[in-house]
Point group: C2
Chain length 342, copies 2
């Protein structure tokens, strides 16, 4: 039984975490890796992600690599915005490969980017490949897990999902991304220029609404600083009282004039009770908590790699997590999870 | 757009709850109902389940009904054991209808009933219909929800799922089924003759193992009484201290000599902290709680009816919950959730 040939497209922090997990899997064979960072190009891909050499060099020429190696599947992790990554996704699909991407806007692109969604879906259908955008959020904790929890409900009156994270144990770029250590004024400037913002609420809310069959009037989003009441510190930085410890972002899906889908993301240093918390007002009411929360980087890599057999089994087209079979980890030979003969 | 013609096969307490929910759905049309209870035969089906008349009488002649009405889908709820319901399932499929059944052993029949599973799968494939066994348990809280939670994991070392229920608010047959009010001796006799037992642990454990790619050595099950420490009472019965308040059933899936899948079902009168509780030891660890738990009868009806579009969208064959797209409630027109033109 042959192995599934895969390429890692984008070897940043998330792409490297994806690759480290994928490298442990039976049935996958990395035939290439792409990154534009001159410090990475030419390096052995295995070494670049912190493991042993695997004899595959990182290249910045995606087109040539795809033509030469003809991968079955590409794990893509280069950006959050569809307009930036669309040419890459089209090029990958053109080579005949399925794609699983961490691009947040790809997780449910039909509301915010309907034209690109249609273009990608048509291309995937024509070439007979499957395209999926996923990750832990968007892609799992604030959308698919919410929808899954409604599976036991006969009525759903409203949905609220809160992701409450202690950023102390996350990497420095994450801590900077949430504004830790800034003054409130600096924070507001970075919100205004779009630097501080989780991308994905539009997608998660649209996926929940579509899954339930609710028609969205609109989505409102706010991004506020979470100020430190007392000094807090991480391995990397220190925040004085009154400075910004992190972010509190809310996304509200308005349905029939009412705020029926509420997403609430808090990520800050020193958060005392990190958790994922889903409340579905309905029949029955569901009050679901994941104690301690789910670690973002690890879980995004998990969701990407765990989706591989489900994407290989999928019909062609632009798919979302709610279209594929129920998520799950898988261990052992990939072939055991794939319906077609590899 | 035409409505999907459905038949309710089995109008006991669960079948009636299923029907009450299904009757509220747009896009479904009940064309018949089957039950063998002489007190129900001939009655209007809508009235029999506690609603207004719908002009469909309950019949005890399934064969004639299926031939006459040619339903698209049958909701089946007559028994827990495959050998009992197999002839019914084959007859329904022969009429060309998809089937969603509450039969516990159908939820994942490949381990305990491999021959019947193969026979049903072949019949479904030949006739090009889809067959699904599901419900809240087995079918959701102790298997699919567990697997879904592993979707964010890179390692899974063990899985434990506990269902801890206060039986005080459940119907009398349920309270009797768990042995409430018996002496410990009476309880043990009823365990010995098979009267007191949740059917489904074998199926849930096998589904989890298969989903993760783990090879089961065997499954061990124990059924113990939960004794009342103080007198407790429900609407229907009173339990003295030292008598049986309910049941504590454990199912343990042994993998590589280790108890890696542990299911723990406690249902008793006066339970102080009812909940669903899933702990996955892995990377990351997942500790998930549904506060208050999920009401069994309501949720089983939810899962059955919420599965309708997913079954209509499925390829033919004997499917399980882990094969179909991620669970979710759906509201509004069924057509919005079905890929083919109805």
């Amino acid at each position: 039984m042959r192995r599934v040939k895969i390429v890692q497209y984008g070897v940043g922090p998330i792409g490297a975490e994806v690759a480290r997990y994928a490298l442990k899997k039976s049935g996958l064979q990395f035939v290439g890796a792409v990154d534009i960072d001159p410090k990475k190009v030419g390096k052995d891909f295995g070494e670049a992600v912190g493991g042993p050499k695997i004899g595959v060099s990182i290249t910045n020429d995606a087109k040539q690599l795809l033509a030469k190696t003809e991968p079955d599947l590409v794990l893509h992790s280069t950006g959050s915005y569809l307009k930036d990554v669309k040419p890459q996704l089209l090029e990958i699909m053109k080579s005949g490969a399925d794609v699983i991407s961490t691009c947040e806007e790809l997780s449910y692109p039909f509301l915010k980017n309907p034209a690109i969604a249609k273009e990608l879906d048509r291309a995937a259908g024509r070439i007979k490949v499957t395209l999926l955008g996923t990750g832990v959020n968007p892609g799992f904790v604030m959308d698919v897990l919410v929808l899954t929890a409604t599976g036991v409900c006969q009525e759903v009156r409203s949905v609220k999902s809160s992701r409450i994270q202690d950023a102390s144990c996350r990497r420095l770029p994450f801590q900077k991304k949430i504004g830790a250590g800034l003054t409130p004024e600096e924070f507001r400037l970075k919100v205004a220029d779009g630097t501080i913002k989780h991308v994905g609420f539009q997608e998660s809310i649209a996926m929940i609404a579509s899954g339930l069959g609710w028609k969205l009037d609109r989505i409102d989003e706010t991004v506020e600083p979470k100020l430190a009441e007392n000094p807090v510190a991480s391995e990397y930085l220190r925040v004085e009282a009154g400075q910004v410890a992190g972010v509190n972002q809310r996304g509200i899906g308005i349905v029939g004039g009412e705020p029926l889908i509420v997403l609430n993301l808090q990520a800050y240093l020193g958060c005392p009770d990190p958790r994922e918390w889903i409340v579905i007002e309905g029949r029955p009411k569901i009050d679901l908590t994941v104690k301690g929360g789910v670690h973002g980087d690890i879980a995004t890599a998990s969701v990407i790699v765990n989706s591989i057999p489900r994407v290989l089994n999928s019909r062609p087209g632009l798919m979302t997590m709610k279209d594929l079979s129920a998520p799950s980890a898988w261990f052992g030979e990939l072939q055991n999870f794939v319906q077609r003969k590899l």
